[in-house]
Symmetry: C2
């Protein structure tokens, strides 16, 4: 780490850690973390690249939020409680205003989620690349996984879908998206509390980052099952109400960037789910059922199978 980098990281990205388990944070060759007895560590990494994952002129404060949020969403999907993260930040130049705004977005979410920044690397690059690696803890054996869905399990979805995709479409067309849809794209809310409340109850869970069809597809393939989803039950973002229904479905099923949780619960435990959800301020809807027959069947309101026009983000 060069002197310039070091100063950068110190100025914007050093704060006293909140968790006593952070023995050594930013500023050495690495961080030192104490293990927590009886808990496993959940670890995830996600990179955001300018021009691929966000518009090059994106609000840096929103980007700081989102770079951490997408990783927190993975921790939420495992039922983990956030503990620490590292940040690798590549920038074309050291722009103080940009860095101040980026750090503000990052720290605001970090403090909300109770997660400590414990290390980083700042480098020059032709365009902005933000890579966050985040870790959380979960009681041993209780992490939510993609595998585990069984035929008959009910499929649930938190919040609503398609808003982020609507915002992307508007911006690509040079239009200003509706504010609520733009907020879904720019400042997604990781469903951390919901994830924790699903431990020991959900048979499988994933966060919806690439569109419901792709992400539920991962649950189905790793669990070795299929699913039927009723399109009339999809929780569509309010800004999709004006669209023809097939367009709205396609945005919800294939659009991505929603960061809601998709999870399955055995039918006998529906009451327990409702009891747990009553303590939370997160809307959750049943959208379908797991089947023994492989494949994802999307049922239109007329009962006919529907084929989604887009699938999840494919970067190659």
């Amino acid at each position: 780490m060069g002197a310039g980098e070091f100063d950068l990281i110190r100025r914007w990205f050093t704060r006293a850690p909140r968790h006593p388990g952070v023995i050594l944070g930013v500023g050495d060759d690495g961080a030192l973390l104490a293990p927590e007895a009886g808990r496993e560590l959940a670890v995830t990494t996600d990179a955001l690249v300018a021009g691929v994952h966000f518009f090059p002129d994106a609000d840096p404060e929103a980007l700081g939020h989102k770079a951490l949020a997408v990783n927190l969403s993975d921790l939420a999907a495992m039922g983990a409680e956030p503990r620490w993260f590292t940040l690798a930040l590549s920038l074309p130049a050291s722009d103080e205003a940009w860095l101040t705004a980026f750090a503000r977005g990052l720290w605001t979410l970090a403090e909300y989620a109770g997660i400590d920044l414990v290390g980083g690397d700042t480098t020059r690059a032709p365009q902005v690349v933000v890579t966050v690696t985040a870790a959380g803890v979960v009681p041993a054996g209780l992490a939510l996984r993609r595998a585990g869905a069984r035929p008959g399990d009910r499929i649930y979805c938190s919040g609503d879908l398609g808003g982020a995709a609507l915002a992307v479409r508007a911006r690509l067309a040079g239009r200003t998206p509706p504010p609520a849809a733009a907020a879904r794209l720019d400042r997604p809310t990781p469903r951390l509390e919901l994830g924790r409340h699903l431990r020991g109850l959900a048979s499988a869970c994933i966060d919806c980052s690439d569109g419901l069809a792709a992400d539920l597809g991962h649950v189905l393939s790793t669990s070795g099952v299929g699913a039927r989803v009723r399109l009339s039950d999809l929780p569509l973002h309010a800004d999709l109400a004006a669209l023809p229904e097939t367009e709205a479905w396609d945005l919800a099923l294939g659009g991505g960037d929603d960061y809601e949780l998709i999870f399955t619960v055995p039918p006998a435990r529906g009451d327990e789910l409702r009891t747990r959800l009553a303590a939370l301020d997160v809307p959750v809807r049943p959208i379908g059922v797991i089947t023994a027959a492989p494949g994802l069947v999307l049922e239109a309101p007329d009962g006919r199978p529907y084929t989604v026009a887009r699938t999840g983000h494919v970067h190659f």
Copy 2:
């Protein structure tokens, strides 16, 4: 993660984990790792950007090696034993030959170091960016740190310095570097075994990634001390022998990319150090002494202080 990415990661970057502590590796929302009783986790992250940290036409196999090696070097500097890492890989295109070679370099070193790849993210980007986050374990309380050097402590350096900087200079001038110097730049060897053997003995340690002057400078500033280094004792890379001595010193002091360990040991424990080193195949040389007076004094053979012409890599 889109379908394309998912396939990519599965093809090149999925292998059965070696450590029983890896409960869940690549393929879910995140990895699940079991804690090890009585051990702390050392975590580091480093990004390599094409055109900044390596030449855009760099051998992908060497790049796969180096992206992991620079992180393992940080673990070595903390005395940690490698356990797991994540890989965020941004690429202009999905080039099968490039990925195969990159993965070969990565896996060869990963197997040598006994470290498991537990998660990743593959994205498109205008140029190659490789971000690795690596974790190792160290017995509680025994991690090597930058702070801890005390006046009178002897300063030591492993291996030799300046070879990587010589290779960079040659390539920037369009010349082919000598093979040994090129190997130092392209395939650095993390000093993992040495780092482990310094636990409970070295008062401070850092890996030399930005040049001796900058990296020793971090030890001095965090320890609140100064140092005198005798330039005649610097372990210069053999390919520097033909250079004027000031040029050789500047490459060793300011060049970077050597990934040797710089560490300090109390004078009363010199014999213990020699005993421990006898078990290892790593050359180590004393190069100076820690002083109470702050600042780094470089002593030329004629006794006069020397000022280095270059300092470490500064990315901004």
